[in-house]
C-alpha cells in the first residue's frame, strides 16, 4: 500500500507562507532545505533553536522557518543574536543572512562577534550581490563582474570571507556551495552541535541579478559551475581560499578549534575577580503555560 508521506522538512517550515518569494533557481531555498535536514537529524529541542536574520533575500529565511525567528535590521542580526543568547543562554542561536548584510553594513559586528567568540552559528549565503534591491555590488562581488552600481565591472578587492572571519577569531569556518547539499547538511548539523563563533559560507546562485547581468545562465548553470569548479580541501588555510571570477572555488571545513565563548570568558573573569560575591546570570524561567 502506498503511503504518501509528508515531506520531512515541512515541520520545520511555515508552509502556509509557501511558495517562497525566492526566484526560480535561487539557491537560498536549497540551503534552507539543508538546514532543515540538519535540524531533523540533530535531535535538538527545536523550541530552543532561534534564528535571526538581517535584510535581503537571505534575510527572508527567518520568516519561513518554524522556529522562534527574528527578522531584524540590515547588518545587525549578529548583535541582536548576541543579546538574545546572553539573555537566554539555553537557546541555540543561528544567524542566517547574506554576504552584503553580514560583511558590508554588518561587517563591524561580524568581526567583533568572531573576536569575542560569541556563541552563534552564522550562515552566510554568498551570491555575490545585493539581490533584493536589484543586484548591487557587495564586498564579495569579484572583479570584473557587472552589478547595478558597477555597470562597467566591479573593481574593488573583495573579502575572502573565511579568511577574514578566521583571522578575526572564528572557531569554526567552512564553505560549501549550494551544489554540495549533503556536505552542507552534514556541516550544518556538526556546527549546530558546537559552541563558539561558527561561520558557514554558502556560495549560491542569484539567477535574476548576478547571473543574468553577467550572462551566466540560470541557477542550474551556476550549480553545474559549482560542481565543475569546486575543489574540496578540508583543512585548507583560510587565507588561501579567495574566489576569483569564474575560477575554482575551494570548499570544505577550514577551521575547527575551541576556545572559551563570550559567555564562558565573561563568567570566568567575574568568578575569578569576585569569588563568592559573584552572582551569575540566571536563565529566565518558564513563564507561560505550555501545551
Amino acid at each position: 500500500m502506498t503511503i504518501v508521506r509528508e515531506n520531512p522538512v515541512e515541520k520545520y517550515l511555515r508552509m502556509e507562507r509557501m511558495p517562497s518569494i525566492w526566484c526560480p533557481g535561487c539557491g537560498i531555498g536549497t540551503t534552507v532545505n539543508c538546514f532543515a535536514r540538519a535540524l531533523d537529524g540533530s535531535g535538538f529541542d527545536l523550541d530552543k533553536v532561534a534564528i535571526v536574520s538581517g535584510i535581503g533575500c537571505t534575510g527572508r529565511v527567518a520568516g519561513y522557518l518554524k522556529l522562534d525567528s527574528f527578522h531584524t535590521t540590515h547588518g545587525r542580526a549578529i548583535p541582536f543574536a548576541t543579546g538574545l543568547k546572553l539573555a537566554n543562554p539555553e537557546l541555540k542561536v543561528v544567524v542566517y543572512s547574506g554576504d552584503g548584510d553580514l560583511s558590508a553594513i554588518g561587517g563591524n559586528h561580524l568581526f567583533h562577534a568572531a573576536r569575542r567568540n560569541a556563541d552563534l552559528l552564522v550562515v552566510c549565503v554568498n551570491n555575490f550581490t545585493y539581490g533584493m534591491t536589484g543586484g548591487q555590488v557587495t564586498p564579495t562581488t569579484p572583479y570584473p563582474a557587472i552589478a547595478s552600481t558597477t555597470p562597467y565591472g566591479a573593481y574593488e578587492e573583495t573579502f575572502n570571507l573565511p579568511g577574514v572571519v578566521a583571522a578575526a577569531g572564528a572557531t569554526f569556518v567552512a564553505r560549501w556551495t549550494a551544489y554540495h547539499v549533503k556536505q552542507l547538511a552534514k556541516t550544518m548539523g556538526e556546527a549546530l552541535g558546537k559552541k563558539g563563533f561558527r561561520f558557514i559560507e554558502i556560495i549560491a546562485p542569484c539567477p535574476t541579478l548576478y547571473l543574468r547581468r553577467n550572462r551566466l545562465g540560470e541557477g542550474l548553470e551556476e550549480m553545474k559551475y559549482y560542481q565543475e569548479k569546486s575543489v574540496i580541501k578540508n583543512g585548507a588555510d583560510p587565507k588561501d581560499v579567495a574566489i576569483d571570477y569564474r575560477e575554482e572555488i575551494i570548499v570544505g571545513k577550514f577551521v575547527d578549534v575551541e576556545r572559551p565563548t563570550l559567555e564562558e570568558a565573561m563568567e570566568k573573569r567575574m568568578g575569578e575577580a569576585l569569588g563568592a560575591k559573584y552572582v551569575p546570570y540566571k536563565q529566565p524561567g518558564k513563564m507561560s503555560p505550555r501545551a
Partner: protein, 88 residues
C-alpha cells in the same frame, strides 16, 4: 570454454517513491539534473504560475535516495524508499 555464471538478478525489495507538489515548483531543474539515476524529467505541461514542474519519468530507476528533495529550493519534491511487500 568456461561459462561464467551470472548471478541471478536480485529482486529489489524496495522502490523509490517521489512526491511532487506541482503548484509549489518553480521549474528550476535542480532535481532533474542532480537525480543520480535520471529518474526525473521536466514536464512539457506547466503549473498555474507557468513553470514546468518535474515528473517521475522513470520510476523504475528511482531508489528513493531523496537527492531531489535535498536540492529543491522550494520544498516541492521529496523522495523516499518504500519497502515492497514480499507477497506483492
Amino acid at each position: 570454454m568456461t561459462t561464467a555464471t551470472k548471478p541471478a538478478a536480485k529482486k529489489k525489495n524496495f522502490r523509490g517513491v517521489v512526491v511532487i507538489k506541482h503548484e509549489q515548483c518553480k521549474g528550476c531543474g535542480f532535481c532533474v539534473e542532480f537525480c543520480p539515476l535520471g529518474a526525473l524529467a521536466l514536464d512539457k505541461g506547466y503549473n498555474a504560475k507557468g513553470y514546468h514542474p518535474p515528473h517521475f519519468a522513470k520510476p523504475e530507476l528511482c531508489n528513493g535516495c531523496d537527492m531531489c528533495g535535498l536540492y529543491c529550493p522550494d520544498f516541492a519534491i521529496f523522495g523516499y524508499r518504500e519497502k515492497l511487500d514480499d507477497a506483492a
